[in-house]
Symmetry: C2
Subunit: 401 residues, 2 copies
């Protein structure tokens, strides 16, 4: 008898019809003689609707109060799913975050799980009850309600799986697994049978929004066997685990990120300390910098170019302009018409040819590379946004994924 | 510095505009230097909408699961009211039933409060925070979520007032107090400045649905000073307390109950034990009997007539028909075209003229009395439903209330 944790996102429970699918999956697992703990998100657009309601009342509500409000969304879907499964003749118990023992820190709206008091969960399972837990939430040590942030239900599911040493944690979504590239962009994209935690983390941070990053980090840390699969189709998904046997496939995926802006500071003095000024200013504004390129000094000055998330672009430029006297650049340029395209694969560190192959593919497609960034399992290039789709296809084809 | 508990019903918080009123009332009380604990119901039709959602999924959900679902309604309104009051510059903390310490028994959907663990409430008040508590809910000793039943938010408010020895418990509604009769029926009805707990209980059970009965019982038991008043108009309401100085007003109110059916058993043997059979049968079906009239035996048989709530009428008649052989009546009659009209007043027990005056008024209005029932502070008559409005007016006028 195994213990399986199954997580269903908002689109999987958005209405009574979709919930039927969920109930079938859950009860089929229970029918095999397994213990099942289900983690649910709020139905469809419930969270957005609640946020809208709050903004009407107060455009700037406190995060504690928002957490108090938003957690009702998961409570409603957990109640409804419980009623549905019970109608099918199963014993099932719904639990909120605090009832399921989720203790978090006090960072409202983005709390981290401190520990799970598993007594209640174990008690329910010992009676062979199916348990339906509200994702995304817990309480802090003052008994105030907290939430784990957007996508936090993935993390809730992995945390339960880790705490109870579950045999598997299944994340059900509306896609049937992790692909080598976004199938809407690259027609030849293939579903992966397996991927390592690190590869999954790189893909997630590059914009392939299948799994919440923190959930993958936690799964890696506690060695939770994750599976990403579809709640609509009954077929195997993608397993995420520590080591995946490298077969012929060198590259696990190609991803792009269009939410990016490039900022260039021209004519910065070629002296120590100026780059520091730029990036400490951005850090103080909590603006994340991604790729950084610094030109070689010439005529006593240099250029510093970097990328940030598009939403942060204007704030970054404004702040830098205010500091122009101190940073002493002669010109600032800002470009949103760029995309970052990346290849990810744990095998590439021992294969120096990967970068060359990627650049060759882009060159043959006549796509100019503005910036390059590499890590052990990833190579990213910054290109003009208009070419991002053809770049993905060219790279995907070149690696024969 | 006083401690005031203020309860606002669903219509008072149904939208952002109505909530503005509520926020004004709460903050005005706080501005006087008082501690304020606010108890809120779910917004407008939220509870009904959630029930409808549940029924779509499962026509017969368990009461535990319904409680788990419905408590989200109060949580949403508490969150929104908190955000609104905070926007006005006040410190305010929202608390769910379990956070506020409500411990109940395990009778889901109609739980009774066992005790309130007041630590958190006292802690918030000691910091001069306004507290917004979700009405209608608590948890049992297994940490399962319970609800107190419809109208239970009144009870939540009184319970907090009792536990913390509040100076006053204000119940805000969409009427401005307790009236001598329903103003929609009796144009000359007057608002009462004060009424006793017992009178309020009689009026409530007679269909004047201003306060939830259990809340009045609890207020009487713990001597909580209640006030019923409007959330829309800024004027004094009606005080409910132990003793009200009887001035010229003998009668506190006239009420009617149209949800009533009269059942007559004709030709029951005039021997001991038959009435017992009838009423033990009804008791076993949990059907409440109100007024009972037994005719004097004649020719060895008698008639038994009684009233029940209209919803129970058919069940009562069916059950009695099944037992005809045992009860031996010759005929059963069932009439829904009746109303019960009552006068209530603590002063009447020492005033034998009250019944006479009431009957005289009805006689002058040509209204026939079918049945009569009296208690120390109440006289009820059963009349034809078509006359209930004119009966109320005739009685109200006669007593010059």
């Amino acid at each position: 008898m195994a213990l399986i944790v199954q997580k269903f996102g908002g689109s999987s429970v958005r209405d009574a019809e979709r919930m039927q699918n969920v109930a079938r999956i859950v009860t089929a697992e229970h029918d095999k003689g397994n213990d099942v703990i289900v983690v649910v998100s709020a139905q469809g657009d419930t969270t957005d609707e609640l946020i809208e309601k709050a903004r009407e009342i107060n455009p700037d509500p406190s995060q504690r109060d928002m957490d108090f409000l938003l957690t009702t969304g998961e409570q409603i879907s957990a109640a409804l799913l419980t009623m549905l499964i019970k109608k099918m003749g199963y014993r099932v118990t719904p639990l909120t975050g605090w009832q399921a023992g989720f203790l978090t820190d006090s960072n409202h709206s983005r709390a981290r799980i401190r520990r799970i008091n598993t007594e209640r969960l174990e008690n329910e399972i010992s009676k062979q009850n199916i348990v339906v837990v509200t994702g995304f939430q817990g309480i802090n040590r003052y008994d105030d309600i907290t939430t784990l942030g957007r996508g936090g239900s993935d993390t809730s599911a992995v945390a339960i799986a880790a705490a109870l040493h579950a045999d598997k944690c299944q994340i059900f979504t509306d896609v049937d697994g992790v692909y080598t590239a976004d199938p809407r962009v690259v027609k030849t994209a293939k579903k992966l049978d397996a991927i390592t935690y690190d590869e999954m983390l790189e893909l997630a941070s590059l914009g392939a929004q299948v799994l919440h990053n923190r959930s993958v980090e936690m799964a890696k840390k506690y060695n939770v066997r994750l599976e990403v699969l579809s709640s609509l189709e009954n077929k195997p998904g993608t397993i995420v685990k520590e080591v995946v046997k490298v077969e012929k496939m060198l590259i696990k995926g190609v991803a792009r990120d269009d939410n990016i802006a490039r900022i260039s500071l021209v004519g910065v003095p070629d002296e120590p300390g100026f780059a520091f000024k730029v990036f400490s200013l951005l850090a103080s504004l909590k603006i994340n910098v991604d790729i950084i390129l610094q030109s070689i000094g010439r005529d006593g000055s240099k250029d510093i170019t970097f990328t940030v998330a598009q939403d942060d672009g204007k704030r970054a430029v404004d702040a830098l302009n205010e500091m122009q006297e101190s940073i002493k650049f002669t010109k600032i340029a800002w470009d949103e018409n760029v995309s970052k395209v990346s290849v990810v694969g744990a095998g590439m560190e021992s294969n120096p040819g990967v970068a060359a192959k990627m650049f060759e593919a882009l060159s043959e497609a006549n796509i100019n590379i503005h910036m390059i960034s590499t890590s052990e399992i990833k190579i990213s290039v910054l290109i003009d946004k208009e070419f991002s789709k053809s770049a993905m296809n060219a790279i995907h084809d070149a690696f024969d994924i």
